[in-house]
Amino acid sequence: MTQSTSAASPPAKISVQNLSVFFGPTPALRNVSLEVPANRIFGIIGPSGSGKTTLLRTLNRLNDLFPNCHSEGQVLLDGADILHPEFDVVALRRRIGMVFALPVPLPLSVYDNVVYGPRLAGVRQRSRLAELCERSLRAAFLWDEVKDRLHTSALRLSGGQQQRLCLARVLAMEPEVVLLDEPCSGLDPISTAKIEEALQALKARYTIVLVTNNTKQAARIADNTAFFLMGELIEFGPTATIFTVPRDHRTADYVTGRFG
């Protein structure tokens, strides 16, 4: 890919090349190639079982935790192949953070949750941790709601607050890429709006990959959108194009709600 001069297509942060992922003998993703531009929100849509989450979990190699999973092809992060066996997985996961579908606060205080990542990375200085904590919580639009109870259990927060806490926890690692796996699937519209607002603000500093079951959410906030169906990438491009003049009739059917 050439370094583009136009603001519309910044250089690719992540480049997926001919990626196939297998669970045992069954392919969950077949021959996927796409480019995720830096400092944009990249939306991934498609029905359940289409491989969206598998792709996301490949990007920070969480699929490594499944013993029967293996992948072929390349995933380049700033040009380096992260699927290479000698690529440092721990370092990779610090650069590419992940927010899961269901909020999973660790049974610790709000503060300890947020600084979990930095502490793992070896940050010990209290002032630095406090600063990271405040900055991340502000960026996740949660600071005002929890600043007076940083040292109470994170399990006492509401579902929407927990999910924003999970976002803040990822941001505290100061990653380059943030992966979100249907982050709003269990949230009410107001909490969803807060997360979307946060993501819009965050793309200035991070590259964001957002898997969503909510097609309208992709239309609202994604700059680019990819449509997956049964393990295959049907098409991807600027969100406006995907939603108004898709090339493939299956994409058209899906985004207009004819199936899925």
């Binding site: 920070n60 969480l62 935790l65 013993p67 721990v90 370092a91 996961r93 610090r94 953070g97 992940m98 899961f100 269901l102 999973v104 660790l106 049974p107 610790l108 205080s109 300890d112 979990y116 990542g117 793992l120 990375a121 040292h151 109470t152 259990s153 994170a154 399990l155 999970c166 926890r169 990822v170 690692m173």
Partner: protein, 280 residues
């Protein structure tokens, strides 16, 4: 056949279950009440803190108190790191395979072996072969081997019960395997591990056969790990078996019951303090 209306089966089930609970509590209450009633009149500060005289017919039980603290302590200090380490290795660092299933089966079998077999092994191996003699160390090592399977299995269950999503979150935040174990898995498995430890302490305190074979039954205060020692359970056994003094025997039994009650309360309290500190 006529169908019994659900509200009758419901009433029937509740009565059966309530009766089971009541019966269990009644038996337990009777035993504890019996021991305390017979034993408490003997128990006093003097009984606890003075040395026995005439084989225990007169005086107190102070050396056996020391022995009862010392032996389980040595056993736990040895068995806890070994057992929890094994459990962590089996659950977090190995994949489920034929080998892990064989190991698990083996531990379950070991847990069911009668304690006297462990006592005999301890006598042959620690006391005779290693020439440690009857002493605190021989007894502690033997008890450690005896409780190891319990500690491994309860720790393993506790570790397995920690939600998988916690591990996933930890790994996704850039944790290594060990950071995940130390930061997320073990703290959340702690209540289960403590339960296993308490069961084990209880078994150690109540043990007689394995202890007589390996730690001996000397009625002195041990000066080192290489001295023989007598625990309260052994003391009780000898007092009752040899017909030395049933009065002192019941006194010892009462102290034993109270001690186990205290240990359990204390462990739970310490655990709750720890958990409360972690997440208020």
């Amino acid at each position: 056949m006529p169908r019994i209306p659900p509200r009758y089966t419901q009433t029937f089930a509740v009565s059966i279950l309530a009766a089971a609970t009541a019966l269990t509590l009644a038996v337990l209450g009777f035993i504890i009440g019996f021991v305390l009633e017979k034993g408490l009149p003997v128990v006093g500060l003097d009984f606890l803190l003075s040395n026995p005289r005439e084989m225990g017919r007169e005086g107190g039980i102070f050396p056996t108190l020391i022995g009862t603290v010392l032996l389980p302590l040595v056993a736990i200090v040895i068995a806890l790191p070994l057992g929890v380490g094994t459990a962590v290795h089996l659950t977090e660092y190995t994949r489920e395979s034929r080998a892990t299933r064989v190991i698990r089966f083996g531990t379950d079998c070991l847990a069911g072996i009668p304690s006297i077999i462990f006592g005999l092994f301890g006598f042959i191996f620690f006391v005779s072969a290693l020439k440690l003699g009857w002493c605190v160390l021989s007894g502690g090592l033997t008890l450690a081997i005896m409780i190891l399977p319990t500690i491994i299995r309860t720790s393993e269950e506790a570790i397995r019960a920690v939600p998988y999503s916690y591990r996933e979150v930890s790994y996704s935040l850039g944790a290594t395997r060990w950071q995940t174990v130390a930061g997320v898995v073990l703290p959340n498995a702690l209540p289960g591990i403590v339960t296993g430890v308490m069961l084990s302490i209880g078994r150690c305190i109540g043990e007689t056969a394995a202890v007589i074979f390996t730690a001996g039954a000397a009625l002195r205060i041990p000066r080192s790990l290489f001295d023989s020692v007598r625990t309260m359970s052994v003391h009780f056994y000898i007092l009752a078996r040899e017909g030395i003094s049933s009065e002192k025997a019941y006194g010892t039994a009462a102290v034993l019951v109270i001690a186990i009650l205290l240990i359990n309360t204390l462990s739970y309290w310490i655990m709750h303090q720890f958990l409360a500190k972690r997440s208020r």
